[in-house]
């Protein structure tokens, strides 16, 4: 029996050989890593195998992967959860309870509350509009003679397919909050929640293809326009 064949028939060879993939991906514990180092130094077969595994690992890592936008998929998951909750007659999620367990997420609760207000306003608007529909003309305008909500700085219309997550992301970026809407025509009234100028918020809004319309509705506050 040759020196090489003795090595390749040893229990140590088989055990170390089985560890090679994790030596390659660098997740072995130090003791096992040293064991592989020592064996590979004397075993030509394991050196060759290690070369092969390195090539495979590098080739897999080099293969391009497509990055998918997750928001549409998330929307469909949430719709499934809604459908499941409806069919089971489940109560609404214990949102406040969860938030209380995570005090560092207070602002998140504020975002949820803002969305809840928006939904409530939407529902309220909807029923008010249904009630008054027979007295309205057959056309709609984006502008309105109705009093504007206090603090409103921008009126905006978003793509009908926009998700709540996308909407919240865009509003966060532009540092705006929903103060009313959407109306039946899909118009949101937005207010600034920072010292960012209205012009800057508008520019940020208009970068997004999901924003179909965005216009300033009141004179820019003095505090927001000073340099």
């Amino acid at each position: 029996m040759t020196h090489n064949s003795r090595i390749e028939n040893s229990a140590e060879h088989h055990e170390v050989s089985a560890l090679l993939p994790w030596y390659v991906n660098e997740t072995l514990q130090e003791r096992d890593r040293q064991r592989v180092d020592a064996h590979v130094g004397v075993c030509a077969s394991c050196r060759a195998d290690l070369t092969a595994q390195l090539r495979i690992c590098e080739a897999i890592a080099a293969q391009p992967a497509i990055d998918y936008m997750p928001v549409g998929s998330l929307k469909r998951l949430l719709a499934r959860l809604d459908a499941q909750a409806e069919s089971a007659g489940a109560p609404a999620p214990a949102q406040e309870q969860a938030t209380n367990r995570l005090p560092w997420r207070g602002w998140m609760a504020a975002s949820v509350a803002a969305l809840a207000v928006a939904v409530a306003l939407l529902v309220g608007n909807h029923w008010a509009q249904v009630d008054a529909r027979q007295n309205q003309p057959n056309y709609r305008t984006v502008t309105s003679s109705a009093p504007r909500p206090q603090g409103e700085v921008i009126r905006a219309v978003f793509s009908p397919t926009i998700t709540l997550v996308e909407l919240q992301t865009i509003l966060d970026e532009a540092q705006l909050s929903i103060i009313s809407g959407p109306t039946e025509a899909g118009v949101y009234s937005l207010a600034s929640n920072s010292t960012l100028t209205v012009r800057a918020s508008l520019a940020l809004l208009r970068q997004h293809s999901s924003v179909r319309f965005a216009e300033k509705t009141s004179p820019e506050p003095e505090s927001g326009t000073s340099p």
Binding site: S17, A18, L19, P21, W22, V24, N25, E26, T27, L28, R47, A48, D49, L50, T51, A52, Q53, L54, R55, I56, C57, A59, I60, A61, A62, Q63, A65, I66, D67, Y68, P70, S73, L74, R76, L77, L78, R80, L81, Q84, A92, P93, A94, Q95, Q97, A98, T99, R101, L102, W104, R105, M108, S111, V112, V165
Partner: protein, 194 residues
Amino acid sequence: MILPAKNSPKERDSALLMAIAAGDRRALEELYLSYHRRLARFLSRFTPRYENVEEIINDTFMVVWQSAKDFRNASQVSTWIIGIAYRTALKSFRRQKNHTGARSLEDYPEQTVDPTFEAEVTDWLKHGLSRLPIEQRLTLELAYQMGHSLEEIAAITDCPVGTVKARMFHAREKLRQYLPTLGGASSDLSARIG
């Protein structure tokens, strides 16, 4: 959502899962968005259709939503989620009758490829991987694409460490049969690792 920087990914995942267990859908959305890219990149290597990838990811997060309250910190949250995705993917791939991964190398006993005649290493590797039994390929990809340790793969696949080693061993052997010149014949490559 942005969490304080002091939260490590593990702490952040645990906090989100705790919130999900209490019915917080915003936490589910956040966890979903933080895992989607990793899972989609992994799963898209097994199926070219994004519809299938999305179905597996969404099925996974349905289980996360329903089972978060049962999580007992026996493993990391990431290992738990990837384990659910692994089992969901396995079921999905088995359902796909025409999935090439369902075939094994034994279906191609005489077929080998010489990399010197291929334009890219990735081409022959893609062919070789697609002919592995799905459990073996998943094990190999969990190690080489996602970088999981032996113990993590055992937890993800809910198998003993010995089974993971055996699956990896067979995957390597079959790739060696399919790609005979891969087995270290190239001396210059051997020299690279000294």
